[in-house]
Symmetry: C2
Subunit: 106 residues, 2 copies
């Protein structure tokens, strides 16, 4: 899963998955951590995006992410050497709310 | 999740999780790949075990695996440099059957 390409619904390359964050209890991927490479103007930032925001394409072996460039550019990213505290419920709520996804833990 | 200890229901150390295998479509952990270290007499072998066979202990931050030593010793393991073909449906069926777990893909 790590290294899998992420594309827009039109098929444009957005970036790739650098890490996955798994809920240890349920064994479900909570977040895919994406680097948007050259797509965004935000150098090395990473973005933890709810897994439910992705759709897997079996045909192309990649993930389709239907989020506008504007929304991604304004998203709460973080530096690779300063990950957010993912045990913090507020952080989780804020991220899921930003991407308009139902919390996976409810 | 990788590196998390695996213990018996009595709390005896069995080994730890070396890898996780995720179904890319659903984002669910299909298998935890476990090394049983000194517990089994089978040197460096790895074992892909259905995630549903584990129970996560929030208290101890480890996984409880309720499978007898005899059953683990007879389990279909593999060498770290020769992973099975996990795309093969028969392999998946055989493993889930061996551990008496309902297939995650149905």
């Amino acid at each position: 899963m790590i290294g899998t390409d992420v594309v827009s619904p039109k098929g444009d390359s957005l970036g790739d998955i650098k890490e996955v964050v798994i809920d240890p209890r349920t064994g479900r991927v909570a977040y895919a951590v994406v680097s948007f490479g050259g797509f965004l103007t935000i150098g090395e930032k990473l973005f933890a995006i709810p897994f439910s925001a992705f759709e897997y394409s079996v045909e192309n072996s990649n993930y389709v992410l239907d989020i506008s460039k504007e929304r991604l550019e304004a998203a709460p990213g973080f530096n690779p050497d300063a990950w957010p505290s993912m045990a913090d419920e507020k952080w989780n709520r804020d991220v899921y709310k930003y991407y308009q996804r139902a919390p996976y833990w409810e």
